[in-house]
């Protein structure tokens, strides 16, 4: 029946919403447990106690934490994210300006990395134990553990300093042609791809090998089905679910990587906005960005789970 499937997906959706709510509680709790307090911080050390008290009242800091949390959360739902403490602009506006850049970066990275990673994973799984597999295993195992800034530093050194092909910094505003755009995105995308491809290729390989080990593939082998056909027609369709799961899970690593990459290449995205906000201790901006990142992360993990549910034929055909 469709109902079971629908129920499972709806249940997963509900669980994600609940987790997001709990996450917002944690983020709010951490950011309002300040040893100093926001009003003091805004006014600086030389403010008189009266000024601080007045600002506290104005900001609503005298209310109990639960009331403030409610205001904050309802503000979130209605899109009123408060104001940035450092420059007084609306947080929603700041995020709105930067978000598209980050989405483009993430989108291009996904488009580049997914096909490469899946091909690598499939090839490694087909040649299991062979030279290519062992080589890919060593390479991906090493890449998984490499910090993004090492890849970025080496990329800048090679492509910008030694070969002089690419600019070391990204200025999105100066894009005139497709060639310019490619030059700007080349290194950030390359850096992000390295770790991501390694992750995804390993998971794809594991998912496919899981299928190749099952009796029906052995049956096909005994019937004399050639290897390529065995993988493409028999194993791969059954591995699509786990692979989609792996892709969604790996993409959630983008969130961590993008923070480093946007900073190192000066890319005007949401992550560098957040890093600046943390340096300036601009709490409402930090809260908003953190919620955005955590929300995205939860959506990706949820998509991974839903892929796994949907691809399970036992659930689909019941």
């Amino acid at each position: 029946m469709r109902n079971t499937l629908f129920g499972l997906v709806a249940g997963r959706l509900g669980a994600s919403l609940l987790t997001l709510f709990l996450v917002s509680l944690v983020i709010f709790a951490i950011t309002s447990l300040l040893p100093g307090d926001t009003a003091q911080q805004i006014l600086g050390q030389f403010a008189t106690p009266e000024q601080v008290a007045a600002l506290r009242a104005q900001l609503g800091l005298n209310q109990p934490a639960i009331v403030r949390y409610w205001h904050w959360l309802s503000g979130f739902v209605t899109g009123d994210l408060g104001q940035s403490a450092s420059n007084g602009m609306a947080v929603a506006q700041l995020i709105n300006d930067r978000l598209p850049n980050s989405l483009i970066l993430a989108g291009i990275t996904t488009l580049v990395s997914v096909p490469i990673a899946i091909t690598m994973g499939v090839v490694a799984a087909m040649r299991r134990g062979g030279l290519i597999d062992r080589l890919l295993n060593l390479v991906t195992l090493s890449m998984v553990a490499v910090p993004e800034f090492l890849v970025a530093t080496l990329a800048v050194l090679i492509f910008a300093v030694k070969l002089n092909w690419l600019p070391a910094l990204s200025y999105v505003s100066t894009v005139d042609s497709l060639g310019d755009a490619m030059k700007i995105y080349a290194m950030p995308v390359l850096t992000l791809c390295c770790v991501l491809i390694a992750q995804m290729a390993r998971m794809t390989r594991a998912a496919l090998i899981d299928q190749l080990d099952s009796p029906y593939v052995e049956m096909a082998q005994l019937k004399g089905v050639p290897p390529i056909r065995r993988v493409m027609r028999h194993a791969l369709p059954n591995a699509v679910g786990p692979i989609a799961n792996a892709v969604a899970l790996s993409l959630s690593y983008l969130l961590g990587g993008v923070i480093i990459v946007e900073t190192i290449f000066n890319y005007p995205g949401i992550a560098s906005l957040m890093v600046d906000a943390v340096s300036n201790r601009d709490l409402s901006l930090v809260q908003a960005c953190a919620m955005l990142f955590c929300g995205t992360y939860l959506v990706l993990v949820m998509l991974a789970d839903i892929c796994a549910i949907l691809s399970n034929p036992r659930l689909r055909n019941r």
Partner: protein, 302 residues
């Protein structure tokens, strides 16, 4: 972990050549495979051991004090006097890396041990404590696990400022839940084993069962998991330092060294490459070692 869910295979004592999945007694390729595993293990052990030694004795071997201005040249290249060049203020880069490695390795080790201790400790609750308490602990950890580690660290630094105790707290908060999840599922599986039920029937107390029956059987997996956590924590902490939100000057870990010398990148300065490579080799070495250990353990289990 799946292999642990199944009961011990009756044929567990048969030679390992009969591995699961391949029903044919494959001889030659397997053996070759095993030798390669040994190779990655030795590479991993060598590189990781090297960095442990550097963390232990590096500061003693450093030719100059960490903060000493020894050269007039900024971003000096490789020379006999300064084997890794000089940094953006003319300090000896080799000394700074030897000292910085202690922060990177030390902090990550402390944080990884704490995460595993807390995570595995709570993970054994399922054997020790009533159901409702276990459920609520699980809920809390499940919430914490859905906050990416960098987000947790960034939010905490924005609220409390960057200091070493805070960095360790933030790291433990993001990595203990994962350790908990693994330890918990291991403990739950082990709790259904016959020998544990026999101990129950014998009338042993919960603490005895946890300490004598469950713990010795999960310690190896917990240690492997701790190694993985160590790698991730090194990446997280050096990432934070790289953003300028981790270890604060005058102290410097390897991530901070990359950050402060990033200005020399356009000249191709060794001062920025060396610390970045240091972190890379440390994490790659640890990762290769752990992978080879856990793979050979999985092979033994089958």
């Amino acid at each position: 972990m799946n292999s642990l869910k199944t009961m011990p295979h009756p044929k567990a004592n048969t030679p390992q050549r009969l591995r699961h999945g391949s029903h044919l007694p494959v001889g030659a390729p397997r053996r070759r495979n095993r030798r390669r595993l040994q190779l990655t293990r030795w590479i991993g052990l060598g590189v990781f051991g090297f960095w442990i030694l550097v963390a232990l004795f590096g500061p003693l071997l450093a030719p100059h004090p960490m903060g000493a201005f020894v050269s007039d040249q900024m971003f000096g290249g490789i020379s006999a006097a300064y084997p890794l060049g000089t940094d953006y203020m003319g300090r000896d880069m080799l000394s700074r890396i030897l000292t910085g490695a202690r922060y990177t390795v030390g902090l990550a080790l402390v944080a990884a041990c704490l995460s595993s201790l807390i995570g595995a400790g709570f993970g054994m609750l399922s054997v020790l404590l009533p159901k409702w308490l276990e459920e609520s602990v699980r809920r809390v950890f499940d919430t914490l696990i859905s906050i990416p580690s960098k987000m947790m660290a960034l939010v905490m630094v924005s609220a409390f400022g960057a200091s070493i105790p805070l960095l360790i707290t933030a790291t433990v908060l993001s990595y203990a839940p994962g350790a908990f999840r693994i330890a918990h599922s291991l403990a739950t599986n082990l709790a259904t084993m016959e020998y544990v039920q026999v101990a129950h029937t014998r009338g042993e107390g919960r603490l005895y069962i946890a300490a004598r029956e469950i713990f010795p059987n999960m310690i190896q997996s917990v240690l492997t998991d701790m190694g993985m956590r160590f790698v991730f924590i090194v990446l997280l902490l050096s990432g934070m330092s790289f953003l300028g939100l981790g270890v604060q000057p005058p102290a410097a870990d390897l991530g901070s060294l990359v950050r402060e010398n990033i200005g020399g990148l356009s000249q191709g300065a060794i001062a920025v490459i060396a610390p970045a490579l240091a972190i890379g080799t440390l994490t790659i070495g640890a990762n290769l070692l752990i992978d080879s250990l856990s793979t050979s353990r999985a092979t033994q289990k089958e």
